[in-house]
């Protein structure tokens, strides 16, 4: 179902063609990084720390180097030390420890050998002497007075301080006078919340193949959300010129933010350089869970004041994000993600806190879900306490264009109210709550981002087109690019071949994150097509012998008075004689990413004897701006929702006291399976983003923000329990029921 504001009638945009890369993916031909093999290829494996925090006294690789099949061994000493303040210093530290290991699973050496078995045997023969250091595993331990340092290298971002610290960042935000507002409020509710680390859980483990030639140039095939970032990070970590490195994007088997940074490529490059052979590294699932980015765990204290008729007058809060062993941006993004309600008075502090756990990475709307879980839970409690409908309370306070975000900047045109209304008016919300079940509501916000993209559009002799971009296709973006190009050029979407090109074949393009591919790269495609259409009109004018001003482009043909329309393929057929190949490249740094809101509604049943929560029905409404390919918009909404359901119910990191992850497998790290779920009903709301030629907002991320509160609010209405910690696993729910 789609709720759409008035917009132009499109011929291709908004249709659902079969994706261009689909055939290869259903017949098993699509090439993912681990599917590639090169002649003479070696297999690389890592040696990883068994300790949560230790100084490396010595590493002896001599025995390993003498083992059968071993061609190269590297350690931290094989990489240049990046200067303090270098933006990739933490990337380098996380990639290969030098001097100190910061978490169980931290890589500290790697081996390349003829077979994987030989490489594993050699890695096991590397002798390491450690001097153990204190291991900090929780937020509370880390921020305690006198706590040992998690990582001596860390400085608090933007603090101006050069003192080592366990704080990654401290971001205060403030407007109005919260103290006076709480004083005047009719109702004030304050609650504390906690969430576990959760993993992105992409099914494809990280993988790459790297071939460094005798000329020192590196060919890299990688699974990543952005091969230009693979190139820049690899160059930085190795201290190489960017131009030495070519990165070809393999098909990517899921990322969700976790493949926006690198874990393998510079190590494979150094092994290849040393051995003179191509090196392939494929992580195991165990490694993925132990040593790649989970999303931060969190603790929050949120206090909200309201009038008796449900106007939210003030929010005060502290949110701590447990970012792992190196600094990242989780804290300040989290603070800024509080942007859904008017809140005339606001005082928030978000803090990033280090622990001896893997460096956290972005995960779908990074930092927003933790904050939304807390805030949406308190708002729901306010609605209940005041006897108000949970949607009405949100409608009363929802931000509209011009209202400030947490950081003060006014929102552009947004569709939060429209999403709330869509749920309010939905079949689901209008249906009676099933016997034995309860219903919850939650909402989510995500900024979305723009950034740099490039696109080249080639018109071929026969009037077909090739659309070349640098945004890896994680979930159908090739089809979206082709749809926008089809709309612009006026040709059939399947006469267009969308290509994701390597770093030497297309202009620079930032990593696919922040729901930016369809928005920003799409804009580059549209700009290139528009320039091509101008050129097509000029060529048509030459052919028809008219002034180019007299030519219009209508439905794939040049149209001029007193001439038959000249279709695109008639013009491309005469390209040689009218000025040569028809090709345009457009590049941009896209501003104006449109924020996206989502509102979710779910029905749950709680087995009060076992604590098991079953999701019976689930509906999501989300503002897509314009859905270029509605099926893949729905897919993003559904996928984000189900990741959120996993976060809500069962996903968590379980650490032993020494910092060893105890559940590093898909058996015990419980992502949802098909039988856990109902259909996820979708309502695409379309409030076009005025800053995009087709009104696109990103849709990839917002969907993961609301489920935790939506389910917690439903569980509350089922049991009376106000669940304050995620996951709401059966043991946790039963323990809470026992205390009720």
């Amino acid at each position: 179902m789609t709720v759409t504001e008035d917009r132009p009638a499109y011929k291709w945009v908004g249709t659902r063609p079969i994706r261009h890369d689909g055939y290869d993916k259903v017949v098993g031909k699509a090439r993912f990084a681990a599917d590639l093999n090169l002649p003479g290829q070696l297999h690389g494996v890592f040696l990883r720390s068994p300790h949560g925090h230790a100084r490396i006294v010595s590493i002896d690789t001599s025995a390993a180097e003498a083992m059968p099949g071993v061609k190269a061994v590297v350690t931290g000493d094989d990489f240049p030390e990046l200067a303090a303040g270098d933006p990739e210093r933490d990337t380098a530290i996380n990639l290969m420890a030098r001097g100190v290991v910061l978490y169980v699973g931290h890589a500290l050496a790697a081996v390349a050998a003829s077979t994987r078995a030989e490489a594993l045997a050699a890695a096991a023969a590397i002798e390491v002497e450690y001097d153990l250091l204190p291991v900090i595993l929780s937020l509370d331990e880390s921020i305690a007075d006198g706590a040992p340092l998690v990582n001596e290298d860390n400085r608090t971002a933007f603090s101006g301080s050069d003192e080592p610290s366990n704080l990654a960042s401290v971001t205060p935000l403030e407007r109005g006078d919260v103290d006076a507002a709480f004083e005047a409020a009719d109702l004030v509710i304050e609650r504390e919340f906690e969430t576990s680390w959760v993993h992105q859980g992409y099914i494809e483990p990280h993988a790459c193949v790297v071939d460094v030639g005798a000329d020192g140039k590196a060919d890299i095939w990688a699974s990543s959300q952005g091969h230009f970032r693979v190139r820049s990070q690899t160059a930085a970590v190795l201290g190489w010129d960017t131009a030495r490195i070519k990165v070809t994007p393999a098909e990517i088997g899921g990322g969700f933010g976790g493949k926006t940074t690198i874990y393998l490529e510079p190590v494979a490059a150094r092994l290849s350089e040393k051995s003179g052979r191509p090196v392939k590294i494929v992580m195991t699932r165990d490694e993925v869970l132990r040593a790649t980015g989970p999303a931060p765990g969190s603790k929050a204290r949120i206090r909200i004041g309201a009038t008796s008729d449900g106007e939210l007058t003030a929010i005060e809060g502290w949110i701590g994000y447990v970012v792992g062993c190196v600094n990242n941006m989780a804290g300040f993004i989290g603070a800024m993600s509080v942007a859904s309600y008017k809140f005339p008075n606001l005082k928030l502090e978000a803090v990033g806190v280090l622990t001896n756990t893997p460096a956290s990475a972005a995960y779908r709307a990074p930092s927003a879900p933790q904050a939304a879980f807390a805030i949406e839970s308190v708002i729901d409690e306010i609605a209940q306490t005041l006897g108000l409908d949970p949607i009405d309370v949100r409608l009363k306070n929802a931000v509209v264009e011009g209202d400030p975000t947490a950081m003060g900047m006014p929102h552009p045109r947004i569709g939060f109210v429209e999403c709330l209304e869509a749920i309010r008016d939905s079949d689901h919300y209008g249906s009676p709550v099933p016997e034995g079940a309860a219903r919850g509501i939650g909402t989510g916000f995500w900024f979305n981002i723009g950034e740099q993209s490039s696109a080249t559009v080639n018109l071929n002799e026969d009037g077909t087109a090739t659309v070349i971009t640098g945004s890896p296709d994680i979930g159908g973006s090739r089809a979206s690019m082709a749809l926008m190009a089809a709309e612009e050029l006026g040709i059939d979407v399947h006469r267009i071949t969308p290509v994701v090109a390597d770093t030497e074949s297309v202009g620079f393009t930032d990593v696919t994150e922040g729901s930016r591919a369809t928005f920003a790269t799409g804009m580059a495609v549209v700009n290139a097509c528009r320039e091509l259409v101008d050129e097509l009109k000029a060529r048509a004018a030459t052919i028809m012998g008219v002034d180019s001003e007299a030519v219009d482009w209508i439905d794939g043909a040049a149209v001029a008075e007193e001439h038959d329309p000249l279709p695109l393929d008639a013009i491309t057929a005469k390209a040689k004689g009218t000025g040569g190949p028809l090709t345009v490249t457009a590049s941009l740094n896209a501003g104006g990413a449109g924020p996206s809101f989502a509102v979710h509604c779910c029905d749950v049943a709680v087995d009060e004897e076992t604590g098991q929560v079953t999701v019976l029905r689930y509906t999501t409404a989300q503002d897509a701006g314009t859905a270029i390919h509605p099926s893949y918009v729905e897919g993003q909404m559904q996928g984000g929702t189900v990741q959120g359901i996993g976060w809500a119910l069962n996903e968590e990191y379980v650490y032993g006291e020494d910092g060893t992850m105890l559940n590093a497998s898909f058996l015990d790290y419980r992502v949802p399976v098909a039988s856990d779920l109902p259909m996820i009903e979708t309502i695409i709301v379309e409030v076009p983003n005025p800053a995009h030629p087709y009104g696109v907002r990103g849709v990839g991320e917002t969907g993961i923000v609301p489920p935790m509160s939506t389910i917690a609010n439903a569980v509350n209405r089922a049991t009376g329990l106000r669940i304050s910690a995620l996951p709401m696993s059966p043991p946790a729910i039963l323990a809470a029921l026992n205390e009720r």
Binding site: F158, H411, G514, G591
Partner: protein
């Protein structure tokens, strides 16, 4: 005159002032003037911030041309998943 809106953690440089009127034809000029008045602030705004102008967030906004009555919101840099 353009107005620079500072995040709370920038305000330690401005004695708590949140909104400051600053002359400038670009965001970079605004930052330079802020640095002149509040030494240290410019470095953070240059390397640690994006700017929201007319509802649009810009990464690396230094050369963005602004109007005489523009609100410039300095915000922390964004990323995504």
């Amino acid at each position: 005159m353009p107005r620079a809106h500072l995040m709370s953690d920038h305000r330690r440089f401005t004695d708590g002032e949140a909104v400051i009127e600053v002359e400038g034809l670009t965001v970079g000029a605004v930052i330079a003037e802020l640095e002149r008045r509040y030494p240290g602030l410019g470095e953070i705004l240059t390397n640690g911030s994006s700017a929201g102008v007319d509802g649009v967030i810009h990464a690396e906004p230094e050369y963005l041309v602004i109007g005489p009555d523009t609100d410039v919101y300095f915000v922390a840099p964004l990323a995504g998943g």
